[in-house]
């Protein structure tokens, strides 16, 4: 292990939230584990994809790395001189909602500089603004406009400019293209990839679908109900999903091809049960088509399968099952 080359080390992190019991008769406080015992190591300059459905804990993990949530147990460490409050930036899913409607593009993009104590003089500020606007593909002459005057894709460019002007070492993107039109998604992905490569950024990319994430990430983790299901190189996981959940995620996605779709047998995927019932077995067992009796009794630990992949399943899938 080249430990000194790690940018982020997430070590056995659990995050829990308190919520009051749904029964009106008792106001007992319960805790709900949004993440349990997550350990991941992110190489400096790498691109990590985090995939999972709603409620899987992917955003919680990102926000914990960012320091917005405190882990209940476990630690998050940074190397390469990364300071949690300075060197990590975040890009949000809904670009318009993330931008203050009363601020001009210029104010929006340069605002982070003030908060991070950079406070550049006017000339430097203008220069930085001009450079970053050019880099994200915005027209400098539009700097006095407001966010609502731009399309979704352009708003996301403003969001990226706002993050990148602080010259972060780590960039976390939380579903940055999910709210965008299909025809502009690739533009934003390419832009993020370009920044990552040029500046050797460590990039964390959160998504709910595997097929898009494989274009940007070289490593992938799959979360389900706060637990790590599978982890390894993106291409490897995409071409050979070993966890039944990963496979369900891939196969459930419709393809833009009528012939393929005509052959689709709609499998029963089952819906997520309420997450606060603590089960002894595998969290996915209730929905898993391959589940055996052991899966309901005992929770599988992450185990090494092959050279590069780790999977939390007693019965990892052998071969590729087609869509």
């Amino acid at each position: 292990m080249r430990d000194n080359n790690l940018a982020i080390e997430v070590d056995d992190v659990s995050v829990s939230f308190r919520h009051s019991s749904s029964s009106l008769m008792s106001f007992k406080k319960n805790t709900f584990d949004a993440l349990s015992n997550i350990s991941i190591a992110v190489q400096a300059g790498s691109r990590l994809g985090i995939v999972g459905e709603s409620g899987s804990g992917k955003t919680t993990l990102a926000k914990t790395i960012l320091g917005l949530y405190q882990p209940a147990t476990g630690t998050i460490g940074f190397n390469h001189g990364v300071q949690q409050n300075k060197d990590i930036q975040f890009i949000f899913q809904d670009p318009l909602a993330a931008l203050n409607p009363r601020m001009t593009v210029e104010q929006l993009i340069t605002e982070p500089l003030d908060y991070l104590g950079v406070k550049p003089d006017h000339a430097t500020r203008t220069k930085k603004l001009k450079t970053i606007m050019e880099q994200v593909g915005l027209d400098y002459s539009q700097r006095q406009r407001y966010a609502h005057e731009f399309s979704g894709g352009q708003c996301q460019r403003i969001g990226i400019a706002r993050a990148m002007i602080t010259e972060p070492k780590i960039l976390i993107c939380d579903e940055p293209v999910s709210a965008l039109d299909v025809s502009v998604r690739a533009q934003i992905i390419s832009l993020l990839k370009e920044f990552q490569q040029r500046l050797d950024l460590t990039l964390i990319f959160i998504a709910h679908d595997l097929s898009l994430v494989r274009y940007i990430s070289d490593e992938l983790i799959v979360l389900y109900q706060g637990k790590l299901m599978e982890m390894g190189p993106s291409e490897e996981i995409f071409s050979h999903a070993r966890h039944p959940y990963t496979q369900a995620l891939i196969s459930a996605e419709p393809r833009p091809d009528p012939d393929t779709e005509r052959q689709r047998h709609y499998a029963e995927y089952g819906e997520i049960e309420t997450a606060d019932t603590k089960l002894d077995g595998c969290v996915y067992a209730g929905r898993c088509t391959y589940a055996q009796s052991r899966c309901h009794i005992e929770a599988p630990k992450l185990q090494q399968v092959g050279e590069t992949v780790q999977v939390a399943c007693f019965f990892p899938l052998e071969a590729v099952t087609s869509v």
């Binding site: 459905e53 709603s54 399309s151 979704g152 894709g153 352009q154 039109d181 299909v182 025809s183 502009v184 998604r185 690739a186 533009q187 992905i189 390419s190 709910h208 679908d209 595997l210 097929s211 898009l212 494989r214 274009y215 995409f238 369900a248 995620l249 459930a252 996605e253 419709p254 393809r255 833009p256 091809d257 009528p258 393929t260 779709e261 005509r262 689709r264 709609y266 499998a267 029963e268 995927y269 089952g270 819906e271 997520i272």
Partner: protein, 319 residues
Amino acid sequence: MSALLEANNISIDFATESGVVHAVRDANIELFEGEVLGVVGESGSGKTQLMLGMLKLLPENAVTTGEVIYSDKDLLTLNKLDINRIRSNEIAMIFQDPMSSLNPYLKVSRQLTETLILNQKIDKQTALKQAIEILEKVRIPDAARRVHDYPYQFSGGMRQRIMIAMALLRKPKVLIADEPTTALDVTVQAEILALLKSLRDEFALSIILITHDMSIVAGQCDRVVIMYAGQPVEMASLDELFYAPKHPYTQGLLAAAKSQSGLTDKLVSIPGHPPVNTGIQLGCAFYPRCEQRLDVCQRDMPVMTGSNTQQQACHLYER
């Protein structure tokens, strides 16, 4: 064959503070009996506004012109009572976000029986029985008990099932589904789509499916209308649209969708961004983003031409 529902020359304008927005310009679509018609477009393409306009569901600042023919009547000329009757008995609509379409304060039982009691003049018990039956049809487990729950007690997929149940209560002939699975996870989406398919046969529905997702179109629709900047730009049977797309926008959209599904090695997008629908439009709205544009495209608006099964509004095919 005559169409079940036919919209002719629909234009929808919104008067806003910053001028008139032309949400839909001169759109023609028809829905035939028993088919699933996909209406595809990106945000701002007017796909939802067109449907809302056809059912007179738009706010006061909208002006809808044209005609919507359904069983020999023009829906746009109907008075409030008559259009309400059509909307409750004949043409039902379901929306993207089931939670914001359901009343959070009312139990599902109340929301499902309301329309029955009002329209069929039946007593509460009979209505409740029918509500449970319809919930079973959309495969909500333990429906007899769960009908007394509130919307928040259901997951997103289950809520969408309730919305579908509500739409089907009065056994409509036409179902307009506006991005019914966009807010759902992929595995849940697959189940809702499968459900829609089986309900279509069971209830002999004709469906208009509004979506931005070409993958959903591929698995669900018989015919497709592609919209751009408030206008249909291509209309075709499913296979012609996917395997022989003609309009450059359709081609670009398909290429982008295919690449995002992992069917190609490189991620593809259409350069530029969607237009704003204000002002007078002279030529083709797709002109600034089109890679096959001609000089004429900037000057003249293309009209729909083509065969019986595939038409497109593009100068490349006008001869």
